[in-house]
C-alpha cells in the first residue's frame, strides 16, 4: 500500500509533527495524581504540600523534556516504503518494505483537529500486538501522502443513525442493562414521590430485581452506569460511519469526537463475518466485520464494515463495497435429531440455577443471575440451531453457528481458510455425525490468534463430500 505513495524529495528525513510530544508524554499523566494523593494521605500544612508539589512539578517537567528530546531526535522518511527512527534510551530504526503495508489508519482526535495534526498507524500482515509504525504528521502531509484517486467517484455507503444506536446498545452489555433497570426505576420512584414510588415502582422493581438483595442493587447500579458508558462510547465511535470503495482500496471512516480513517487493500480481506445478537435479531439487523491484516489490532477497535443494517441494505452495501468478495450461499444443515446437542449447555446452566434457587438464602441471587443467562443462551442456541450450517461454493467456505450470546455467519475465501477439520466423537461415530471446524487468522485488540469456527452435528458423509469439493476448488 505504501508503494502507491509518491517518492517526494521534500519528504526526505522529516521530524514528526510536534503533537508527538503530547502523546508520548501521555503515559506520565497518571503521575499528576501523586500530589493529590499525597495531600489526601499525609495532610500537612500548606507550605509543605506546596514544596512537595514543586518537586512533583519538576519531575513532570523532566519527563516532558524527555519526550521533547525524543521528538527532536525522531525522524521518518518515505522512500519506496517507510523508514522510521526514534527513541533515546532504546533507539529503534524501522524499515517497512513497499507493498507490505496491509492497512493504514489515520486518526484525528479533538486535540489533533485543533492543532491540525494526525496520527497515522501503518500495519503489516504480521502477528503483532500493536501497529508496526505510528507516525504523527500534519493534516496537509497526510493529504499528500494518501491521495484520493480521481479517476472515478468513489462508491459510498453511509450508516444511518438508529442502526448505530442499536449496535451501541447491543454491543454494550444488554443483560446487565436490563437487570439494572430496577434500581433506576425504584430510585425514580423515590425522587418522584411516595404515591407512585411506593406502589408501581415497588412492584415493578421487585419483579425486575428477581429477588436480589439491596447489596446487589448497588452493584447493579454500577453495571448500569458501565453499560451506559459503553453505549455512549460505541455510539461516539461508530457515529457518522461511512465506507467508500476507491478502486481496490476500501476507505472506512467513523467517529464523532475522534475521527478515524482506515485504508485497506480490499484484496487483503481474509474473512467476512455477519454477527447478530438477540437484541439485533428483534430488529432484523446485522453487523458486518472483516478480518484484514492489521485492522482491528488496537484496543477498542472492531473491524466493522457495516455497523448495523437490515438484510436488504446489507446486501446492497456489500455489493458496492466488496463486489468481488466470494460468498457461499448453500449450506449443509445439522440433523434435526441433534437439537439437544445444541441445548445441553444452557439446559445444564438452567438446572444449576434451579438447584441454587431451591437452596435459597445467599445462593438465590446467584441462581437468578444464572437463570437469566441460561434462558438467554437457550434462546440464542435454539435460533442458532435453526440457522447453523457449513458450505463450500463460489470460491468460499461458509459457516453459520451460535457462539456465546450471538449468532455468526462467516465467509472465508478458500485460499485463506488454512485448516478445515472434521471431528467425530465416539457417540457421533455411532450416529454418523461429525463436527466441522474451520480455522483462520483473526485480529483482536491487544493480541492475535487463530479463530476456530465450529458447527456441530453435521451428517458425516455429506460433510466429507463438501470437504472434497473444497479440495477440488483449491487444487
Amino acid at each position: 500500500m505504501l508503494s502507491n505513495l509518491p517518492t517526494n524529495p521534500l519528504l526526505a528525513s522529516q521530524r514528526p509533527y510536534p503533537i508527538f510530544v503530547v502523546y508520548d508524554a501521555q503515559k506520565w499523566w497518571p503521575l499528576l495524581l501523586v500530589p493529590v494523593l499525597r495531600s489526601l494521605l499525609s495532610p500537612g500544612n500548606a507550605a509543605e504540600i506546596l514544596r512537595a508539589s514543586l518537586w512533583d512539578l519538576a519531575v513532570g517537567l523532566v519527563l516532558i523534556g524527555y519526550s521533547t528530546a525524543k521528538w527532536l531526535t525522531a525522524r521518518y522518511r518515505f522512500d519506496r516504503g517507510l523508514q522510521l527512527s526514534q527513541g533515546l534510551i532504546c533507539r529503534r530504526q524501522l524499515w517497512l518494505l513497499p507493498d507490505d503495508a496491509a492497512s493504514i489508519e489515520v486518526e484525528c482526535t479533538p486535540l489533533m483537529w485543533l492543532t491540525r495534526g494526525r496520527r497515522v498507524r501503518v500495519n503489516t500482515a504480521g502477528l503483532r500486538r500493536r501497529s508496526d509504525a505510528i507516525l504523527y504528521l500534519s493534516a496537509e502531509r497526510v493529504k499528500k501522502l494518501i491521495p484520493r484517486p480521481h479517476a472515478r467517484p468513489p462508491i459510498r455507503y453511509a450508516a444511518r443513525i438508529w442502526p448505530v444506536l442499536v449496535l451501541g446498545a447491543s454491543g454494550s452489555n444488554v443483560a446487565f442493562g436490563l437487570l439494572t433497570l430496577s434500581p433506576a426505576i425504584s430510585h425514580a420512584g423515590r425522587v418522584i414521590g411516595h404515591q407512585w414510588g411506593g406502589e408501581a415502582a415497588g412492584r415493578l422493581g421487585r419483579l425486575l430485581m428477581m429477588g436480589l438483595p439491596p447489596l446487589l442493587e448497588q452493584m447493579a447500579g454500577l453495571f448500569v452506569w458501565g453499560w451506559l458508558l459503553a453505549f455512549v462510547y460505541t455510539t461516539l465511535r461508530y457515529g457518522g460511519f461511512h465506507a467508500e470503495r476507491e478502486g481496490n482500496r476500501l476507505h472506512l471512516s467513523s467517529g464523532l469526537l475522534t475521527r478515524r480513517d482506515v485504508f485497506i487493500n480490499s484484496r487483503k480481506v481474509t474473512a467476512l463475518e455477519l454477527r447478530q445478537t438477540l437484541f439485533m435479531k428483534l430488529f432484523s439487523l446485522y453487523t458486518v466485520t472483516i478480518t484484514a491484516a492489521g485492522y482491528g489490532r488496537e484496543k477498542g477497535t472492531r473491524p466493522v464494515v457495516v455497523p448495523a443494517a437490515g438484510k436488504r441494505e446489507l446486501c446492497s452495501a456489500l455489493d458496492q463495497l466488496l463486489p468481488d468478495y466470494p460468498v457461499c450461499s448453500s449450506f449443509l444443515r445439522p440433523r434435526r435429531r441433534s437439537f439437544f446437542r445444541y441445548l445441553w449447555l444452557p439446559l445444564a446452566v438452567l438446572a444449576g440455577a434451579a438447584v441454587l434457587n431451591l437452596m435459597g438464602g445467599f445462593y438465590r441471587p446467584i441462581g437468578m443471575v444464572l437463570l437469566v443467562m441460561g434462558a438467554w443462551q437457550l434462546l440464542v442456541r435454539s435460533i442458532g440451531f435453526r440457522q447453523a450450517g457449513f458450505g463450500v461454493g463460489r470460491g468460499a467456505v461458509a459457516v453459520r453457528y451460535p457462539r456465546g450470546l450471538a449468532l455468526y455467519e462467516v465467509h472465508i475465501p478458500l485460499e485463506t481458510a488454512d485448516t478445515i477439520v472434521i471431528r467425530q466423537s465416539w457417540l457421533q461415530r455411532k450416529r454418523n455425525l461429525c463436527t466441522v471446524e474451520v480455522r483462520c487468522f483473526y485480529e483482536q485488540p491487544g493480541r492475535f490468534r487463530r479463530r476456530r469456527h465450529r458447527v456441530y452435528c453435521l451428517p458425516y458423509d455429506a460433510a466429507l463430500h463438501t470437504l472434497k469439493k473444497c479440495r477440488e476448488y483449491q487444487s
Partner: protein, 144 residues
C-alpha cells in the same frame, strides 16, 4: 555474507550480567534490611552466581552465534543452553528493525528484529558492522 559473535558481543553480555547482579544484590540487601542481617549470606550467593556467569556465559554465547545469508533466506544459529536455528525466507519478511540499548551502543553491537507474518525473529547482539551489512542487504533486496 556470514555472521558471528566477537569480543564486543561478549562485552555487552558481561555488562548486562554485572548490572543484573548488582540490582539483584541491592534488592536482596533491602530484603535483609527488613527481615534481619542473617539473610545477607544470600548476597554472597548472588555475587558468586554473577561472577560465574560473567566469566563463563558471554564467551560461550559469542562463540555459538553464527549465521549466513544464502540466495533467498537468512540462517542464524544461537544459544548456549538451548541451541536455536532460525531460518527466515526473505520473501516472508514484512518489516525489519534495528534496536540499540545503551550497552550495545557502548560496545558497538545491534539487535536486528525481523517482522514476518508468523511472528517476530530477534537476532540479538550482532556486531555493528555485520548488522549494518545485513540491514543494507535487506533494504536493497526489498527495493529490488
Amino acid at each position: 555474507m556470514t555472521f558471528g559473535g566477537n569480543q564486543e558481543v561478549a562485552a555487552v553480555l558481561r555488562s548486562w550480567i554485572a548490572a543484573l547482579g548488582l540490582v539483584l544484590s541491592l534488592l536482596w540487601g533491602a530484603v535483609a534490611g527488613l527481615f534481619g542481617p542473617a539473610l545477607l549470606w544470600g548476597n554472597g550467593l548472588i555475587m558468586a552466581a554473577t561472577l560465574f556467569l560473567w566469566w563463563w556465559y558471554p564467551a560461550r554465547y559469542a562463540s555459538t552465534l553464527r549465521g549466513h545469508i544464502d540466495q533467498n533466506a537468512l540462517y542464524i544459529v544461537s544459544g548456549v543452553w538451548f541451541r536455536r536455528e532460525t531460518y527466515v525466507p526473505f520473501e516472508a519478511i514484512r518489516a525489519f528493525e534495528c534496536w540499540t540499548l545503551p550497552f550495545e551502543r557502548l560496545w558497538r553491537c545491534r539487535t536486528v528484529v525481523l517482522r514476518v507474518a508468523g511472528g517476530t525473529v530477534f537476532l540479538l547482539l550482532l556486531p555493528q558492522q555485520q548488522a549494518a551489512d545485513l540491514l543494507n542487504w535487506l533494504e536493497q533486496t526489498g527495493r529490488e
